[in-house]
Amino acid sequence: MEWHRGLPQLIIILLYLSLLLLLGLFSSRLFKGTKEDYQVASHSIGPFLLLMSMFGTTMTAFALVGSSGEAFKEGIGVYGMLASSSGIVHSLCFFVIGVKVWKLARRNGYTTQIEFFRDRLGSDFIGLLLFPILVGLIIPYLLVGVISAGSVVQSLTAGLAPDVGMFQAINADGSINPALDGGIPAWLGSLMICIVVLIYVFFGGMRGTTWANTFQTLVFMILGVVTFYVIANRLGGQDGFVANLRALAESVPDDKVTRVEMGKTKFFTYLLIPLSVGMFPHLFQHWMTAKSSNSFKLAVVCHPIFIMIVWVPCVLVGVWATGSLAADVVPPGINPNTVLAFLVKTQTGQILGGFLAAGILAAIMSSLDSQFLSIGTIFSNDIYCHYSRKANLSDQQQVFLTRMFIIGIVAVTYLLSLANQTSVFALGVWCFSGFSALFPIVFAALYWRGLSAAGAISGVFAAIISWGTLFYHGTQTPGGLRAFKLEVPLGGENYEIMPVVVMVLTCLVTTVVVSWVTPKPTPERLAKFFDPR
């Protein structure tokens, strides 16, 4: 049967979004009506759901699309730089920060990071300082998701309605863009995704988000592996899966199966980027959903394996696309981030293309939902309820407020996504670096009695000033933000390092030095957070 181009993809995307809506609406039937249930699912999430929701939240579209694109550009080294490092450091953060903070939060009743820091440091100002920084760092991250969702829907439904004016994709020079023409316009795709995420977060709260994340994580993991299998068999041209894998590997140029073009110090310093998960507000809120500290065990152990399952196939597909067997398929000058979608479109059927679109959207939405809920919760708990003169707001009023803030943040994010489609992508790694820069503060708050409020506040200022300074330099260099690296001259050689090193060290040194010379927290306050000596 001959399908209209783009139609099967659209049908599968719509079916997938409908399933998500049903899941969100079903989970809302279990909603108990309390603020605690809406924001942290009444601390009822067990090991499996916690693993899937935390993994789904930390993996964005980058895990599928970006990994193959980066491997296409840089070779197999991207797995070590971005994935195996995350396998070690993310679980380290879950273990060292997540479990500890969960125990303190359960004892003292925190839902957000700001509540924890305010109480730990006895400072209201730390909350006011962290609020714009956390929200400011997460908005570009949200924008990347919303814009990516629109692009994915458009590219994978291309050809659907080329004669309809609003579906036509015109390049800046007035020519038709064949890769996108006739597809659902990006603004409409982004709007569709925002509305679906908004509905299931609005009605389902954290329980709906966790269930949707679990479902979506399963979807993108399974579809990633299926896509890998099909592409290998089509591109390899041999009999048998292993024979195809071997033929494809032998076709790849040497610079892509090694790391000859990757700097060793850049590779090493990239290890600091995954520390960002220690300060993600949305991940903090997921930690709070755990039923017990033992619920974390499965997530801590399986997270590195899940990263491997998603990333290794995508990295291999990315490097195969540089090989001689793909030379007739992959056009020269292709945008690396479209390599996976391009191979799916040319090497597999429309049905698998539709499923892959659903998989990529799953990866995007499983991060967006948690981020929207987290920002709504921060606005409601840390700003409105904290500073409102109306004491003792009821649970229903607080749930209502959180929902209103979620609608607001979805609307603002969507409108911002319409304004700037390209420059925001370069901000991705900078957002992560910003969160990593704040890591010394959360670590010190949990493990160092000597951390003072002044030390933490100075550390936050140091992190954000160093971030801003380096960001400015990044915008002024010829390669722009994406390519900006620092060079350290040592022994007659220049070593390339990631800007995050400077940010983390600046924050760490400032926090420690200022804490040493300023008044320490009272013994009563420390007794809430530390065992007696």
């Binding site: 009444s42 601390h43 009822s44 067990g46 197999i76 797995y79 070590g80 994935a83 195996s84 490092s85 396998g87 070690i88 380290l92 273990f95 479990v99 500890k100 125990k103 303190l104 359960r106 004892r107 003292n108 009743g109 292993v242 894998l245 071997r246 494809l248 590997a249 032998e250 790849v252 040497d254 199966v257 090694t258 790391r259 000859v260 060793k264 590779f267 090493f268 290890l271 039923k291 017990s292 500290s293 033992n294 065990k297 801590v300 152990v301 399986c302 997270h303 590195p304 394996i305 990263i307 491997m308 290794v312 990295v315 291999l316 490097v319 007794a527 809430k528 957070f529 530390f530 065992d531």
Partner: protein, 93 residues
């Protein structure tokens, strides 16, 4: 495994293993090696995939010998109301 071993040397063993993982992560020795393991997996990628498995094994060990045990008498002892709320929510689940 005794309780004292779990509470004292366990975290040190895990800390040592994490440092070892981070050292092994910087695999300069395979930087320019183009060997294909099993004929299809570049050795640099194979090494780091193994490192992901080693990380999972390390964290599995951490859950056995270094997992922090809940201590209701510890710092910030839960408020009675909060504890009761927690207990009832767990029962509901």
């Amino acid at each position: 495994m005794t309780e004292s071993r779990s509470s004292s040397s366990g975290p040190l063993i895990i800390a040592g293993l994490v440092v070892l993982l981070l050292i092994l992560h910087q695999d300069n020795w395979f930087w320019e090696n183009k060997t294909l393991v099993f004929g299809f997996l570049p050795i640099g990628l194979f090494w780091h995939a193994c490192l992901s498995l080693a990380a999972a094994a390390t964290w599995f060990l951490a859950t056995k010998i270094a997992w922090p045990v809940d201590d209701p008498t510890g710092p910030g002892k839960p408020l009675a109301r909060e504890q009761a709320k927690h207990d009832s929510s767990e029962e509901a689940v």
